[in-house]
Symmetry: C2
Subunit: 426 residues, 2 copies
C-alpha cells in the first residue's frame, strides 16, 4: 500500500478517491488553525488565579523595602530573579528580568551587539559587512527574522536527532570570524522537539570560534514544558562553558509566556558578568525598570520553583491528549502509505513533519483552501526557503481536541493528495 510502490494506475485511482474526500471537506467551509504555538484557552484558565494575587489591599513592598509600584530596580525584583535563576539553573545574580517577551530581550541583545562591541576591541556587528549567523534548521522563524532584519547572512545547519550538526558548526566557527553566533532552542526544539544531547552541549561549550565575539543565543523556551512521562534532560550549558573557560559564550533566555499568559507573562535572560556588564550599560539608558508588579504577581502565584513545576503538570495534562491526536492520526493515516517522517517529542509545542519532498507548500495550500491554517511551508528555514520543500510545523496546542482531530484528518488527506499529485507529476 506504500505510495512509492503503486503503479501509475493505482495512484490515479487513489488520487481520485482522495480528491473526492478532499472536495467534500472543502465544501464544509471549516475554519481551523494549527499555525502558531499558542496555548489554548483551557491552558490560560490554569493561570487565572494569578490575577487575584495582587489587589488593592496588598502590600507592594519588597524584601529590601522597595515599593514595587514605583520606579527602580533595573534588573528586576530579587524575588523574581531568584525564581528565574532556578528555572534557568544559574546564579540569580546573573539574571535580568524584563518585560513580557523573551523575543524582545533576544532582539534587544542582538540589537545591542549591532552597535556596541560585546568584547572590547571587536567591531560592533553593524560594521562587519559580511556578518553571518548559524541557524539550525528546521528552526524558529522569529529567531531567523531578527538576524534577517539585521542583515546577517544566515547559514543553515542541519538538525540531527541530538541537536545541530556539530561537525559542521565546529568547522565553520573555527575558520570564519564573521560568524557571530548561533540560534539554539536546546530543549524540545522548535519545531522538531529534539533536545540537545550531552555531547552536543559539551561540544557547543567547548567551541573555539575565530570570532572573539561569537555568542550562543540559548533560547530555553521549553525548559520545563514536558508532555510525556519520559521527559528529556538538558545538560547545563553555563556549567559546561566554565569547564572550557568559555563563560562568555552563552546568553540564556526564557519566559512564562507558555507557563502563565503569553500576553502578560514575564521574560528573563542570564549571561556571564562580562556580557551582563555590556547589556546593563545599554539597559541603563533604555529603561528605568520593567513591570515589577507583574513580576510580583508571578512570585506570589508560584511561591517557589516547586510551584512552577507543579503548575507545569497541569499544562502537561491538557497537552498530552492533543499531541496524542496528532501522533495517532499521523500514524494511522501516513504509516500505511509510507509518506512522511515526523518527530515524537517529549515536550515543547510542536510536531515537525517532513512530507514527500517538493510537496510541503502544496500541502499548506491544500489545507488552507479546506479551511485549515498551518504555519507557512518554509517558515522553519532562514528566508523562508526550505530547499527540499518538505518541512511543515504542526502546532497542536491552540485548537480543542475535536477541532484538532478534524484538522489532522484534513491535514493527512492533503499530505496524501499532494504526494499523489507529485508522484503522478500532475
Amino acid at each position: 500500500m506504500s505510495y512509492l510502490k503503486l503503479t501509475a494506475q493505482e495512484l490515479e485511482q487513489e488520487y481520485k478517491k482522495l480528491k473526492n474526500v478532499y472536495d467534500e471537506e472543502k465544501s464544509k467551509g471549516l475554519n481551523l488553525n494549527m499555525a502558531r504555538g499558542k496555548p489554548g484557552s483551557e491552558q490560560l484558565d490554569l493561570s487565572n488565579g494569578i490575577l487575584d494575587t495582587i489587589t488593592s489591599n496588598c502590600h507592594y513592598i519588597g524584601s529590601d523595602g522597595m515599593d514595587f509600584r514605583n520606579y527602580g530596580v533595573l534588573q528586576g525584583i530579587n524575588e523574581c530573579r531568584k525564581l528565574f535563576g532556578e528555572i534557568l539553573e544559574v546564579d540569580y545574580h546573573n539574571v535580568m528580568v524584563g518585560g513580557n517577551s523573551s523575543l524582545n530581550m533576544m532582539f534587544d541583545t542582538i540589537s545591542c551587539m549591532m552597535t556596541k562591541p560585546i568584547v572590547e576591541g571587536c567591531k560592533p556587528w553593524y560594521e562587519v559587512k559580511d556578518r553571518k549567523f548559524l541557524c539550525p534548521v528546521p528552526g524558529y522563524d522569529r529567531h531567523f527574522g531578527i538576524t534577517e532584519y539585521y542583515g546577517f547572512e544566515m547559514l543553515p545547519i542541519p538538525m540531527n536527532e541530538d541537536g545541530p550538526d556539530m561537525d559542521m558548526v565546529e568547522e565553520l566557527v573555527a575558520n570564519d570570524s564573521s560568524i557571530k553566533g548561533i540560534w539554539c532552542v536546546p530543549k524540545y526544539s522548535n519545531p522538531s522537539g529534539v533536545t540537545y544531547s550531552d555531547e552536543t552541549v559539551r561540544r557547543l561549550a567547548a567551541l573555539k570560534p575565530a570570532a572573539k565575539d561569537f555568542r550562543i543565543m540559548w533560547d530555553n523556551a521549553y525548559c520545563i514544558h514536558d508532555i510525556t512521562d519520559t521527559p528529556d534532560k538538558l545538560l547545563n550549558i553555563v556549567d559546561e562553558c566554565k569547564k572550557y573557560n568559555n563563560e562568555d559564550l552563552p546568553i540564556l533566555f526564557c519566559s512564562t509566556s507558555k507557563i502563565t499568559f503569553p500576553g502578560a507573562g514575564v521574560a528573563a535572560m542570564a549571561a556571564s558578568d562580562n556580557n551582563m556588564k555590556v547589556f546593563l550599560e545599554r539597559y541603563n539608558y533604555e529603561v528605568i525598570s520593567y513591570d515589577k508588579m507583574n513580576m510580583l504577581r508571578h512570585v506570589k502565584f508560584f511561591c517557589n520553583y516547586q510551584g512552577v513545576l507543579d503548575h507545569m503538570k497541569k499544562h502537561k495534562a491538557v497537552l498530552k491528549p492533543k499531541f496524542d491526536v496528532v501522533l495517532n492520526t499521523l500514524e494511522k493515516e501516513l504509516v500505511p502509505v509510507e509518506i512522511g517522517k515526523w518527530t515524537k517529542p517529549n515536550g515543547g509545542y510542536f510536531v515537525s513533519i517532513d512530507v514527500l519532498d517538493g510537496t510541503a507548500k502544496r500541502v499548506v495550500q491544500l489545507c488552507k483552501e479546506a479551511g485549515v491554517v498551518l504555519t507557512g511551508a518554509g517558515a522553519t528555514y532562514p528566508y523562508g526557503k526550505d530547499p527540499r520543500d518538505t518541512n511543515i510545523r504542526i502546532a497542536p496546542t491552540f485548537p480543542s481536541i475535536d477541532e484538532l482531530q478534524k484538522a489532522m484528518d484534513i491535514f493527512c488527506i492533503c499530505v496524501k493528495l499532494a504526494a499523489c499529485e507529485k508522484l503522478l507529476e500532475k
Copy 2:
C-alpha cells in the same frame, strides 16, 4: 540685604552664621531625597483600585473577540489605543501602545533609526559619522543619555520662557544635514516647567531641515499633569505639522507612569503613517505583543478619557501643597538675599533653579553632606556639563510635606552658604 551689595566683612559674618546653622543640621544625620521625579506613596495609593479591575472571574475578551491573555495585537488593544489617542490628541490608528516605559519606546525609536533609514534613500544614522542632536537646556538627563549612548554630538539649545530658542534651531537645522533631531518635553518641560508657546510649536512644525530624516522627539510626559488652577495649553503639533506638509516630523510619546504606577504603567507613541510603517516593521521582529492585560487594566480603571482627567485632579491635590512648600521656601529664603532664579510651573514634576553662577555643584555637595540628595548638578545638560554651573533640578513629589520642608530649608541654607563662599572666593 542682597548678598551682592554686602561688604566683605558683612558677607563673612553672614557666612559664619550660615555655617553654624548648616553644621547643626548636618549633625542630625538626615536622609532626604529630592533627586528623581518619582511619585510619592500617597499618589501611588490613588491608583491601587486598578489592581482590582481584573480578577480570575473576569472576561478577558476584547471587542474584536481577542483573548487578551494570549499572544497577538502588535500595536496594542484598540480600547487602550483609543484612550492614548485622546491623551495625545491624535487619531488612534497612528498610536502604538507598548510596555511600561515611554523611555524604552524612545530608546527603541532612536535605535531603529540608527540601523534602518526612516526615509528611503537616507543613510541609517549609524553611518552618519558626525551625527548630531539638538538638546534644549536645561533638559531631561535620560533623553541626553540615549543620544550620548548612540554617539551623537549633542548641541545645547537655550530654553527661553516660551520654549527652545527657535532662531537658533531654525538656523542650525536648515544648514546642517547631520543634525537628525531634537528632544522636546513640550509641556511642563523637564526641568523648567515651561510650556512651548503656540509660536514655538508653529515654528517647530514649519521647520525646513536640511536632513530629510530630521525628527522631533516629542515627549509629552506631562501633557495632563497640571498642579495649579491656571494650567498651560499646548498647541497640537500634529495638526500644525500637517499645515506645513511636515507630517513626518514629530514622533509623540507619553505614558501612565505618573498617572497610575511608574513601575507598572503603560506607555504609548504616535507617529505619521510613513514613520509608523518603519517602526512597525521593526516591532514586528521585536515582539509578538506587549502586555495586553495591563492595557485592559488601565482601560477598565479609567473607563474613558474623562476618567483619566478626573484622576489627574487627585494627583494635583497631592502635588499642589508640595510645590507650594518649594516655592514659598525659595521665596522666603532667597528673594531677600537676591540669590537664585527659579520657575513657577503650572504642572509637571520639577522646579528648576539657577543658583549663583559657579555654585551649583557646591550646593549639591553641601546638601549631600547634610543628608539631602539632589539630582546631580549638570545632569540637566548634555554630557552632564552645565557651562555656568548654575542649574539645579528640584523634584518635590517623592518626600512627604514635612520631609520636603526640612529638605528645602537645608537646600536654601546651602544655596546661601555656597553663594557666600563664592563671593568671598573661599
